[in-house]
């Protein structure tokens, strides 16, 4: 048994203007999960401490919260892995969400991201044409099962820096869910789905890998790469800045072994997009003034062949 101090964010949207914190001491084995520590605190000390929970086995996705600065599932986090030397654990609601009460947040923006996907199978033929199941190979199914482990806990969404600056961004969980349909051989809306998720700012993902901290090993970051690849492969909305940027970066690194910044701007915005180019012109002028103007022409780096070998080894052929 150990004395553990839970330092808890307290807030009630109906009455509080600003949040405060409460420290609650519980006497429990240190291997107890943070969720059960909270349950003990609520049962034995203060019944008003509020948080969501259901399964206590990392499968319902209810209990994501910020524990000592790291967002994760409270029912999957033993106290002894997070408490400091004084036995204290700081618990806050997940970032990127509006707090409602204590550790309970308003989840609606997160669910809205799913609703936009039309998240249900839309086969191209009618069900009545199949007396039995549609046949799907074990490998095609396996791809989907890996994403199906997602428990919609929003941990990744809370961790995503792009969500925090642009709430319209679909976010990692919804993109992974879009992947689930895009890669389902039974679905007939692949292109429409790629277009939809592109419009929901798929290409804003900065590949920072923050969302790789997924408690269910769904790795949404990798699924985002897969969806971007699918967009390029199927040539969906290729004239948007996202795919143009990706392609021009690849093209020039392959060609000269380094980023070609002037070409990058022209390629992303569009060489003939005069209005777009004029918009970035002030930036160019400022850079020139500071002597930071990138060169117009680049010579390939000495060992550019080796860079190209990397591409040859890794590149998925794009039709």
């Amino acid at each position: 048994m150990a004395k553990i101090t839970l330092d808890i964010f307290r807030f009630d949207e109906a009455v509080d203007v600003v949040p405060h914190r409460d420290a609650v001491v519980v006497d429990i084995p240190e291997t107890t999960t943070v969720l059960d520590a909270l349950e003990t605190a609520k049962a034995d000390v203060d019944g008003s401490i509020s948080f969501r929970r259901s399964c206590r086995s990392a499968i319902c996705g209810s209990c994501s919260m910020n524990i000592n600065g790291i967002t994760g599932l409270a029912c999957k986090t033993p106290c002894n892995t997070v408490m400091d030397e004084t036995g204290a654990i700081k618990i806050d609601p997940t970032p990127n969400f509006q707090p409602m009460k204590d550790l309970v947040v308003h989840m609606d923006p997160f669910w809205d991201k799913y609703a936009r996907l039309k998240p249900y199978l839309q086969p191209s033929d009618s069900d009545s044409a199949h007396e039995r199941e549609r046949r799907v190979s074990p490998d095609d199914m396996k791809k989907l099962v890996d994403v199906a482990n997602c428990v919609m806990c929003a941990t990744c969404y809370a961790l995503c820096p792009v969500v925090s600056v642009d709430p319209a961004f679909a976010g990692p969980a919804a993109i992974a869910y879009a992947y689930r349909f895009i890669e389902d051989v039974r679905d007939g809306q692949r292109k429409e789905r790629i277009a939809q998720i592109s419009e929901d700012y798929l290409w804003l993902c900065a590949h920072c890998y923050a969302c790789s901290y997924c408690p269910k090993h769904v790795d949404p970051n990798d699924r985002i790469i897969d969806v971007k690849r699918a967009a390029i492969k199927d040539r969906v909305l290729m004239n948007e800045r996202g795919p143009r940027h990706a392609l021009v970066v690849t093209k020039w690194i392959k060609k000269v072994g380094m980023l070609h910044e002037t070409e990058l701007i022209a390629g992303t915005i569009g060489r003939f997009n005069v209005r777009g180019l004029l918009k970035v012109a002030p930036l160019g002028l400022r850079m020139a003034y500071k002597g930071k103007m990138p060169p117009m022409f680049l010579k390939p780096i000495p060992k550019v062949d080796e860079v190209r070998t990397i591409f040859d080894a890794l590149e998925v052929p794009v039709s």
Binding site: R53, S57, C75, K118, V145
Partner: protein, 561 residues
């Protein structure tokens, strides 16, 4: 006031399947759920769902019916069991057509695995996340049909006017308001009641709400004494260690390091049926060969690779809860309450005795599981009877004009809640729950006898009295008041627990999950009948045995495996 044709209470598998069926049948349907649907405990089911698809071996609904009836120790109603097993293949195909991610055979058909008590491999699955993928498929259908979900609304009571169901009263957890939800048909799909016990595989939300609500409204609970105990659950938090572990070859050891199961089941050892293994473990522990009140689940000899490949989820769950890594150490486990076979009495269409009121899924007792349910049959029950009850309800509402809104029920609930919130001192729900859990574990667990059961009834009656006189809610907030919600849940749990103890005391036989040490034999001459527990203001429920078991093709035989 909110108004719909059909309102479904619960967003688990049974509730969502019912709602989709009603929506497709053209009804204006809504779900009322205390959690977002994808948070429902159905998502925790790992193993699979039964249907005689015959994808691996010849199989038939009739064979499935026989296995289920035998598994039920002949207490299941054979017409209902047959209906379920006949609907099963069609429902699985329906799920597949809606996008459910089932694991596949090499030829692309749905894969099936063998399960306890089944004559052939008929359990469809999706790796070890079967419940979760079906839950997601049904939630997707809700999105597709635009079914309205009253999310984080806690249902507190059923409305009955002139003898017919007219909707429910629900507490909006976001703002603390009680709302009247008027409906021509109400379908309860509120899940199980595992939280009657301290040691349970059920999540925090499996709190007998539907049982309590129906019971208080005058609908009997049926066969509540039959509670399934799962043999391998974690001591720390009751989390389930799937039967798959033993399927892969894990041992059960006592304090002396013996594989004790062969003393109790010389042929099957660790793989004997659930009730047998649970009783054996408990005997070891009672006779002093336990380790801190547990026996050990030993997987070490399976080796790192196999554990990581086939049992990754339970290894992770055990590590999180106990700090022990199954690769290097045996995991202490003990039997825990797992599944409520009993529930709200219904017919094979999910209809209760009150017109317009239905129940489906774990909260219902049709009865398809009788005295013991087979693995993979309860997910099936949720889907089949979710759909059947909605089908019946959609028909029923055509014959109903407007229903009278139950303002008086709303008023009564407002008084109940303000009474609880108004109290400035008293006994908090965690204390009441501990008292209930203690007597349940001591007296209504794996082995039962008259003295213990009598004690349970008395002690639970005392908890009931204390609840009514002095239940106290510390949190007075109108926002997300989970202290109030857990208190109301405790009220429902006490109802269910009393019905369980009273039914068990009266049933002087051992059948399926009920093991009476003072009546060790099954007694078909006297007990081939269902227990109906009716609410009785004065104390423990009034018991009634007017409903006989329906026997069709299969005459009762000795149940041996």
């Amino acid at each position: 006031m909110i108004k719909h044709d059909v309102v479904v209470i619960g967003g688990g598998l049974a509730g969502m399947r019912a709602a989709v069926e009603a929506a497709e049948g053209g009804a204006d349907v809504a779900i009322v759920s205390k959690m977002h649907p994808v948070r429902s405990h159905s998502g925790a089911a790992q193993g699979g769902i039964n249907a005689a698809l015959g994808n691996r071996e010849d199989d038939s609904p009739k064979a499935h019916t026989f296995d289920t009836v035998k598994g039920s120790d002949y207490l299941g109603d054979q017409d209902a069991v047959a209906a379920m097993c006949e609907d099963a293949p069609g429902q699985i195909i329906w799920l597949e057509h809606r996008g459910c991610i089932f694991s596949r055979l090499p030829d692309g058909r749905i894969a099936q695995r063998p399960f306890g008590g089944a004559g052939s491999p008929r359990t469809c699955y999706s790796a070890d996340v079967t419940g979760l993928v079906i839950l997601h498929t049904l939630w997707e259908q809700l999105e597709r049909f635009g079914v309205k979900v009253y999310e984080e609304y806690f249902c507190t009571a059923l409305c009955v006017e002139d003898g017919i169901g007219t909707g429910v009263v629900a507490y909006n957890m976001r703002n603390g308001a009680l709302e009247l939800i008027t409906a021509k048909a109400t379908i309860f799909a509120t899940g199980g009641a595992g939280r009657m016990y301290a040691k349970t595989t059920n999540g925090y939300a499996s709190t007998a709400d539907g049982f309590g609500i129906a019971y208080k409204a005058g609908i009997p609970l049926m066969d509540m004494e039959f509670m399934q105990f799962h043999p391998t659950t974690l001591k720390e938090n009751g989390v389930l260690m799937t039967e798959g572990a033993r399927g892969e070859g894990a041992y059960l050891l006592n304090a002396l390091g013996e594989r004790f199961m062969f003393k109790y089941a010389p042929n099957k050892g660790e793989l004997a049926s659930r009730d047998v293994v649970s009783r054996a473990e408990w005997t070891e522990i009672l006779e002093g060969r336990g380790v801190d009140g547990c026996v050990l689940l030993d997987m070490r000899h399976l080796g790192r690779e196999k554990i990581l490949e086939r049992l990754p989820q339970i290894r992770e769950l055990a590590l999180d809860a106990t700090g022990k890594d199954a690769i290097n150490e045996p995991i202490p486990i003990l039997p825990g309450a797992h599944y409520t076979m009993g529930g709200i009495e219904t017919d094979k269409w999910g209809a209760t005795r009150i017109p317009g009121v239905y129940a489906a899924g774990e909260c219902a007792c049709v009865s398809v599981h009788g005295a013991n349910r087979l693995g993979g049959n309860s997910l099936l029950e949720t889907i089949v009877f979710g759909a059947r009850s909605a089908k019946h309800a959609v028909n029923y509402i055509k014959s109903v004009g407007e229903v009278r809104p139950s303002e008086r029920t709303l008023k009564a609930q407002q008084e109940r809640v303000s009474g609880l919130l108004g109290r400035t001192s008293g006994t908090r729900s965690p204390i009441l729950r501990r008292a209930m859990n203690a007597t349940m574990s001591e007296n209504t667990f794996i082995f039962r006898n008259e003295a213990g059961l009598r004690k349970a009834v008395d002690e639970l009656s005392a908890v009931r009295k204390e609840f009514d006189a002095s239940a106290y809610v510390m949190d007075k907030s109108t926002t997300f008041n989970t202290d109030l919600v857990t208190t109301l849940e405790t009220d429902f749990l006490i109802d269910a627990a009393l019905a369980l103890a009273a039914g068990s005391l009266a049933r002087t036989e051992s059948r399926g999950a009920q093991a009476r040490t003072d009546y060790p034999e099954r007694d078909d001459a006297n007990w081939l009948k269902h227990t109906l527990a009716w609410r009785n203001e004065q104390g423990p429920p009034r018991l009634d045995y007017s409903r006989a078991v329906t026997i069709a093709d299969f005459a009762p035989e000795v149940r041996s495996y």
